[in-house]
């Protein structure tokens, strides 16, 4: 059983939902990320999604795009993002790390070299935004052979047939994007998410984490009741952006928000 599968099984037994913060590696500077990851675990994070900065983040909204730009200004890359994971692993051997990014850096590194590097860095899952199952066979086979879970996205307009496809090729968990649009976008319709989740559950046994539109403790609690995990990204990164003059304050604001989400989800 992979680290991620084991975690979700354990959480299910405790009737607890996974809190999954997303931060862009190297935002606002390369030294910020590893201490933040540890602090997020202390605040109740179960899995950490680490964004790999990319010059053209087509599926992300302005908040995460600007995070990418800040990190790229420090030459943060796929390689240095994996170095951050390695560093984190020195003192935390159990919290799963999922790296999330776009395909081109992986293509340039080469699939096999990438799979080796991911495994060596202690990364547990890989979500490649612009690699749908139709094109993913080669890459996912290499990852799975090394015990790394390929994570796939589901959208509000994904058909039952596509959910089955993700179920067949993905592992660890599926990431349901609860809104049409880019990261950080608008308002979440709870009834819509609930109805869609029922449809998804009918076609997969994999845990389902829900993201896009999780802004505060209240939405985190609502979403936690519907899925197996809650992904929060833009709301955290907004705290970095609001405190660019003081990374220490940014970190504190992120931890406060996560702590509030954890409490709301557990009560």
């Amino acid at each position: 059983m992979s680290q991620l599968a084991g975690l979700f099984a354990e959480l299910a037994q405790k009737n607890r939902k996974a809190l999954i913060p997303f931060v862009t590696a190297g935002d606002p500077n390369p030294d910020f990320t590893v201490p933040l990851m540890h602090a997020m675990v202390d605040a109740g994070a179960d899995i950490i999604e680490l964004g790999v900065p990319f010059s053209d983040p087509m599926a992300d909204g302005p908040v995460i795009q600007r995070a990418s730009e800040r990190a790229l200004a420090h030459h943060q890359s796929l390689r240095t993002t994996l170095a951050i994971a390695t560093e984190f692993r020195k003192t935390n051997g159990h919290t799963p790390i999922v790296i999330m990014g776009y395909l081109n850096p992986v293509e340039i590194m080469g699939y096999e070299k990438f799979a080796d590097a991911v495994q060596a860095a202690g990364v547990d899952g890989v979500l490649t935004v612009d690699l749908p199952p139709e094109e993913a066979e080669e890459c996912t086979a290499l990852l799975k052979a090394r015990g790394v879970d390929p994570i796939f996205l589901l959208a509000p307009n994904s058909s039952a047939e596509r959910v089955q496809k993700m179920d067949a090729i993905g592992s660890g968990y599926l990431y349901y994007v609860s809104l049409k649009g880019v990261t950080g976008a608008g308002h979440l319709d709870v009834a819509d998410v609930e109805a869609k989740l029922a449809e998804i559950r009918a076609n997969t046994k994999l845990p389902v984490a829900i993201g896009f539109g999780v802004k505060d403790a209240e939405t985190a609690k609502t979403i936690a009741n519907l899925g197996d995990g809650v992904v929060v990204g833009s709301a955290l990164i907004s705290q970095i952006e609001a405190n660019l003059h003081s990374p220490a304050q940014a970190k504190q604001a992120i931890i406060e928000l996560l702590t509030a989400m954890r409490q709301a989800m557990d009560n």
Binding site: L72, P132, L154
Partner: protein, 400 residues
């Protein structure tokens, strides 16, 4: 070639290139588009409506013009210009926007979006949107908005909303990112008219098919006027839609050389260029695998060209395939050389070419003299230079 050319395969692959590399949020829209495209391309009603519009609205067929004075001056091949500059809105871009807009209408979409670099595709999109009464939003990099203000004004006159994109390098690639974000958000009522032979399948094949009318005409016109097929074809390549439209009907004619001209900017050796086929490497961007300008970390490199329409870090996947298979050859032309091409055609033939097309003209200056006088060279004059008057005047130190 003994077997008839039939790329791409059902999954949109041209060998290792092409494909569908998009986020899941876009997948259903891509599948819906592909189904509509496969159906309507063989629907007699649709084809008849398209033919009628091409003739009466676009003004097709465009002439194939024998540039006799220029041919004589260069002393080599007989140069024939495919006059896409004479189309409605002034470039080949309208061939594709008319086709995709008719498709949008059949699919019941009420809102059109597009990205644009030089503004030619934006103008061609705003034009068909106005004609069909569709809402229209055009994404354009802020840098391009500044250097192509005339086209921005034209789009606004036509009723389009022009959004200046401030992210990244503020050019064509960033406009494309922003258009993709719009599409994903407004997927139910919106049709995204991509302007070049790039993007996820079916765009590369679909745009090629809409543009191939210019190549079919050129072939027919050449046979009538010269009594034989041309020896070589030359076209500029940014994303590569005018080149693909010209090349496609000739791919099985193995004796016809296909030559694509990329923008070398300050020179390929300086790194400041837009020539992924000549100096890039394969990767994945904007929904397809193709040659790209990217660094060792896989980040996309900022490009440079005097011509906004060629200022793009990728290229259509079919060109990548044609390059690797050796069927087509790709060369590059610097900004300064393109200007020589611009002045040469203007002064020898009284035709002012777009700066994009000027790259093809500049390569003609090199190639034609090396060919025999009974050989034929067809050069795609993909657009007219009116839009570039401000850029050219500024270079000459003239305030308009």
């Amino acid at each position: 070639m003994t077997e008839k050319y039939n790329m791409p395969d059902a999954r949109g692959h041209f060998g290792a290139y092409g494909g569908i590399f998009v986020a899941e949020t876009l997948m259903p829209a891509i599948q819906e588009l592909n189904a509509a495209y496969q159906y309507y391309m063989h629907d007699a009603d649709f084809v008849a409506e398209l033919d009628k519009d091409m003739q009466h609205y676009v003004g097709r067929p465009s002439p194939l013009y024998h540039a006799e004075r220029w041919s004589k001056e260069l002393g080599g091949a007989q140069i024939y210009l495919k006059r896409e500059d004479l189309n409605h809105t002034g470039s080949h871009k309208i061939n594709n926007t008319v086709g995709q807009a008719l498709l949008a209408k059949r699919m019941g979409k009420t809102r059109i979006i597009a990205e644009t670099g030089a503004g030619q595709h934006g103008v061609a999109t705003a034009t068909v949107a106005a004609r069909l009464g569709l809402e229209c939003v055009i994404y354009m990099g802020a840098v391009d908005v500044a250097r192509q203000s005339l086209n921005v004004y034209r789009m606004k006159l036509l009723g389009a909303t022009v959004v200046a994109v401030e992210s990244g390098s503020k050019t064509l690639k960033d406009a494309l990112n922003e258009a993709l974000r719009d599409w994903v958000t407004n997927i139910d009522n919106t049709f995204y008219i991509i302007g070049t032979v790039a993007g996820p399948h079916p765009y590369p094949a679909m745009v090629r098919d809409f543009q191939a009318i210019l190549g079919r005409e050129a072939k027919q016109q050449c046979l009538v006027q010269a009594g034989k097929l041309p020896n070589a074809l030359v076209a500029c390549v940014g994303g590569g839609s005018n080149a693909m439209g010209l090349f496609y009907p000739f791919i099985d004619d193995a004796d016809v050389k296909l030559i694509g001209v990329e923008a070398a900017g300050d020179g390929v050796e300086t790194g400041r260029h837009s020539a992924p086929l000549c100096a890039g490497r394969p990767g994945v961007l904007h929904g397809n695998r193709t040659y790209l300008m990217s660094d060792d970390d896989g980040e996309i490199i900022e490009t440079h060209s005097i011509s906004a329409g060629l200022d793009y870090p990728g290229v259509g996947p079919e060109h990548a395939w044609l390059k690797d298979s050796g069927r087509a050859q790709y060369v590059n032309i610097t900004d300064n050389e393109a200007l020589e091409g611009f002045y040469a055609l203007t002064r020898m033939e009284g035709i002012i070419p777009a700066l994009e097309s000027s790259h093809a003209m500049a390569y003609t200056l090199k190639l034609a003299p090396t060919m025999k006088q009974d050989e034929i060279l067809i050069v795609n004059l993909s657009g007219r230079g009116d839009k570039d008057m401000q850029t050219m005047a500024r270079r000459e130190g003239i305030e308009l």
